[in-house]
């Protein structure tokens, strides 16, 4: 992840030498990879049909055409408005989304009365449309910096909205209107990343170098309350709202995002220590006081307790059974029994289906795809030269990384389970749309990063790196 890219300039402002040659755009590579991604998705769709009925499903061509057209439109938008954008981001998003649709369609076969794939396809279409909109309309990411406080307020408003609606499965994270529901908290992630990035970019120096020393220990310098106040307030509010809504996964995500960005912006290890301490205190308090969370922790420690008690396996145990059944190579698409997990099989536990039917090989491939997205985000962050852009790229990439870790770790028993959607794979309209927006922003950022710089650099001098 930290290798110097051959195709980009090491963005070291202390060495502002102009590029000798025009940088390759790599749009042809992107197109080829998109074709591969669409073909892989269609192949998966056919594999499900062949496994279940022995024939190629009739919708395969339509599915391929639909996904192909969406991907092609996105690709054309990128060619037009972000020609230097990273060539890997869009194909990976297409592949993950396509694979997610295949997995959801495969689970729909087990629940004939309750199909989820068509709606997911509509949401994906909307997601790609928004991707195109962001790539086309947002000509320069720095425009977002002006909306820092608007984003922060918007994020809080979005987070607070579901409190007005009845809870679903113990969590108040949905807004239900006329038959469809959205999770505003998903969109809040992006807004919060924008807010954190712009605020930290503006107050970096103050955060790192002002304030009192504690124990005469240089590393543990706390900034003044004036600098710290707004950001901690925002963060506390967001976490408070989340505790009220019982959405622990998102809370964990915000927390991690906050700490990472704070560290990257200031380089103060003390922040990490304070953050971890706060996290431990918060986790312990919530884990003991809040029954909903407490039971999750208990399940994580003893996934088989319900079996020993004679109540049959709980969802986590069923999820572990599914992963184990997959083994190294998996059962093959359409041949597993992950539907035994029950009601969240298509959303929170979609990874169990991937694990069972594609095996450790397929699961590792999926993890690596996500890792590539994260790596490309970080690479853009390294290559950018304005602090806001850097922090935004790191923030967005970290959102993906933390989301994947929290939910994948949860369903595989690595950490306590918190409800959260696997980016692009899981059923959930808001999640798919949000992730397309994240990819669009990363696209814009990587375009800026890889673009031959024609005196576009106008941020403060970088003296920290």
């Amino acid at each position: 992840m930290t290798t110097k890219a051959g195709t980009t300039l090491a963005a070291d402002p202390s060495d502002p030498s102009p590029p000798a040659t025009r940088l390759p755009r790599r749009r042809g590579v992107e197109f080829t990879l998109i074709v591969v991604a669409v073909l892989l998705s269609v192949y998966g769709y056919c594999a499900v049909g062949l496994a279940r009925t022995g024939t190629v499903p009739p919708g395969a061509a339509d599915y391929g055409a639909g996904l192909g057209i969406l991907a092609l439109l996105a690709h054309l938008a990128v060619r037009w408005r972000a020609p230097y954008g990273d060539p890997l981001l869009l194909p990976i998003a297409v592949l993950l989304n396509g694979l997610g649709l295949v997995l959801i369609h495969r689970l729909d076969l087990e629940t004939p009365g309750d199909p989820a794939a068509p709606a997911q396809l509509n949401w994906s279409t909307l997601g790609v449309a928004l991707f195109i909109a962001v790539v086309v309309l947002l000509r320069d990411h720095r425009a977002l910096q002006a909306y820092a406080y608007v984003s922060g307020a918007g994020a809080l408003a979005l987070l607070a909205l579901p409190i007005l609606f009845p809870p679903v499965n113990g969590a108040r994270i949905w807004m239900r209107m006329d038959g469809f529901s959205i999770q505003p908290g998903e969109f809040a992630k992006v807004l919060l990343a924008v807010f954190f990035a712009s605020y930290l970019a503006a107050n970096r120096t103050a955060l790192a170098y002002s304030g009192r020393q504690i124990w005469r220990f240089r590393r543990l310098q706390l900034p003044t309350g004036r600098v710290l106040g707004p950001i901690v307030a925002i963060w506390l509010l967001s976490v408070g709202v989340l505790v009220l809504e019982r959405d622990l996964g998102t809370s964990l995500l915000f927390f991690g995002l906050f700490v990472i960005l704070l560290y990257v912006a200031t380089g103060r290890t003390g922040w990490i220590a304070v953050g971890l301490l706060l996290a431990c205190v918060g986790a312990f308090a919530v884990g003991t006081l809040e029954p909903h969370v407490h039971s999750r922790v208990e399940d994580w420690l003893h996934p088989f307790a319900s079996i020993e008690a004679g109540d049959g396996p709980n969802q986590l145990a069923q999820s572990l059974f599914a992963f184990a059944a997959g083994g190294v190579l998996g059962t093959g698409l359409g041949l597993g029994h992950s539907i035994l997990i029950g009601f969240a099989a298509k959303s929170d536990f979609i990874l169990a289906t991937a694990g069972e039917e594609l095996g450790l090989a397929g699961l590792s491939a999926i993890f690596l795809l996500y890792a590539l997205v994260v790596e490309r985000g970080y690479r853009a962050g390294l290559a950018l030269r304005d602090p806001f852009g850097r922090l935004l790229a790191i923030g967005l990439a970290s959102i993906v990384a933390l989301q994947v870790f929290v939910i994948a770790g949860g369903v595989t028993g690595l950490i306590p389970l918190t409800g959260m959607a696997m980016p692009f794979l899981a059923q959930g309209g808001s999640s798919v749309v949000t992730n397309w927006i994240i990819v669009a922003l990363l696209m814009r950022l990587s375009d800026s990063a890889r673009r031959p710089h024609d005196n576009r650099y106008d941020g403060p001098a970088e003296g920290l790196a």
Partner: protein, 487 residues
């Protein structure tokens, strides 16, 4: 800033490594533990996802599979459930399997690696073999004759081919339909509860899993011990046995149900079933020799498998003389399964050697390729061939002119021994009626069938020698069926 970005990236890399390592832990290292968890439904789903292989009798399947379209897709069906229940057992999605369904389970459900054309091939492809076929030794005509012969009475029949040990009939009544237990719904639960609480115990395999006092049929063993050990040499010489006989060391005296037993010859005593002669004979042979002979016939052998386990028939090894006397006429602690008494008969018919009894002729794949086949195997020598010859003669007399005349078959040599077994506290129960016998058609070279019949609730007045009345006709029917099939 660049330095910190790289560090944050390293953190993300750590998270990735943790996920990958954990996935490998769950999916590879600990997979077996999860796969084998009792709460994991996948093995059951896989097991019932295809039709179960069939158990055949005379080349025709007596089982089948019914596609229910549910999660556990195929359910076991039985063509003649009650008739073959002691052979097939049940294969229930809830209550497991018994008897052949149990011992041949891995073959029937397709998981036996021997079904694969290439070893380990299926581990790689995750394919499941079609369920294999189990070919039984049962003779359908004999089985049906036994079942119909017992009718509404409680009892059991076991029939063997003496020379090989092939089990030709294994019947227990009252019976039940194993198909009632196949599925997994409420109806199955109710059937299970009903069958288990039924006082008539229809699920009990009386032929192989229940022991009875063998009564006078045990006199075959006592005779073999006496002849083998030289306690007696002449069948027609009067024995020195009083009637009634006072049990050694007690004031209890043992009586007979027939006249002329005092000092009777062995032939007379055997033909008319004199208790006094055999009780004294057992004492004269002695505990050591009696237990040796009983063991040679298969008593006290807990390891008998046909292939499913058979209840252990017992002959006490630590008794005083009075108890030995009673044990020698099949009372006191002596107990035997009908299958064991069929083995005793078969040993006589087969010149003294006991063949290992078996139910499975061979197993095959669905396509018919033989997976495993088995042939006759001698278990033990129960007595000298000469002793067996003389016992055959004695048993023939029983059928020709003694207590077992109702078992006689035209155009065939039939030998037998009747028995009436007292049981219950103070012998208050209705006595069990026994008949053991063998038959050889006049065209055959050797006896073709050995059979043991027990009737629990024999419809008799106490004191009748009911083995000849109740059990012998059932045995006759079974033996006739076998002889007829042999031509």
């Amino acid at each position: 800033m660049t330095k910190y970005i790289r560090r944050a990236a390293a953190l993300c890399a750590l998270l990735l490594i943790a996920l990958l390592a954990n996935a490998a832990r769950i999916q590879v290292i600990q997979a077996k533990r999860y796969d084998d968890s009792s709460a994991n439904r996948r093995p059951a789903i896989a097991r019932w996802s295809q039709p179960r292989g069939n158990i055949t009798v005379d080349g025709r399947p007596v089982t089948g599979s019914n596609d229910t379209g549910e999660q556990l897709r195929y359910e076991r069906t039985y063509t003649d459930g009650p008739l073959y229940a002691p052979v097939t057992g049940f294969a229930s999605q809830v209550y497991g399997t018994t008897f052949l369904e149990h011992t041949e389970d891995s073959l029937l459900d397709g998981s036996d690696p021997l079904l694969s054309f290439l070893p380990l091939w299926n581990d790689l492809t995750r394919d499941q073999n079609a369920g294999g076929e189990v070919v039984t030794t049962i003779d359908a005509a004999a089985q049906r004759a036994a079942y119909e012969g017992l009718g509404a009475r409680r009892g059991a029949v076991a029939a063997l081919e003496p020379g090989t040990g092939r089990i030709l009939a294994l019947v227990s009544t009252p019976s039940y339909d194993p198909g009632e237990l196949s599925g997994n719904g409420r109806a199955v639960e109710r059937a299970w509860a009903r069958l288990n609480s039924d006082a008539a115990r229809p699920m009990l395999n009386r032929a192989a899993r229940q022991t009875y006092p063998p009564g006078s049929t045990f006199k075959v063993v006592t005779t073999a011990a006496a002849l083998d050990n030289g306690v007696l040499t002449d069948l027609d010489k009067p024995t020195r046995s009083p009637a009634p006989y006072r049990l050694p060391g007690t004031t209890t005296s043992l009586a007979n149900e027939v006249e002329g037993c005092a000092d009777a010859s062995l032939r007379y005593a055997f033909t008319w079933s004199c208790n006094t002669v055999f009780a004294k004979l057992g004492v004269d042979v002695g505990l050591g020799a009696m237990t040796n002979t009983a063991r040679a016939f298969g008593f006290n052998d807990s390891g008998l498998r046909i292939p499913y386990a058979v209840a252990t028939s017992s002959f006490d090894t630590d008794m005083d003389k009075a108890q030995l006397a009673l044990s020698s006429i099949g009372q006191y602690d002596t107990r035997a399964t009908p299958l064991q008494m069929a083995l005793v008969t078969a040993a006589v018919a087969n010149g003294g050697s006991v063949q290992q009894p078996y139910l499975v002729e061979r197993t095959a794949t669905k396509a018919g390729r033989t997976v495993a086949a088995r042939g006759p195997r001698t278990l033990r020598r129960a007595m000298n061939p000469a002793t067996a010859m003389r016992l055959r003669e004695l048993m023939r007399d029983v059928v020709e002119k003694g207590t077992g005349t109702r078992a006689a078959i035209p155009d065939a040599t039939v030998g037998g021994k009747t028995g009436t077994a007292q049981h219950g506290i103070g012998n208050s129960g209705i006595p069990y009626a026994w008949f053991i016998g063998w038959a050889q058609s006049d065209r055959a070279m050797e006896p073709q069938v050995a059979v043991a019949v027990v009737v629990e609730n024999a419809d008799v007045k106490r004191g009748d020698i009911s083995g000849g009345g109740d059990a012998a006709p059932v045995a006759k029917g079974v033996m006739e069926a076998v002889l007829k099939a042999a031509g």
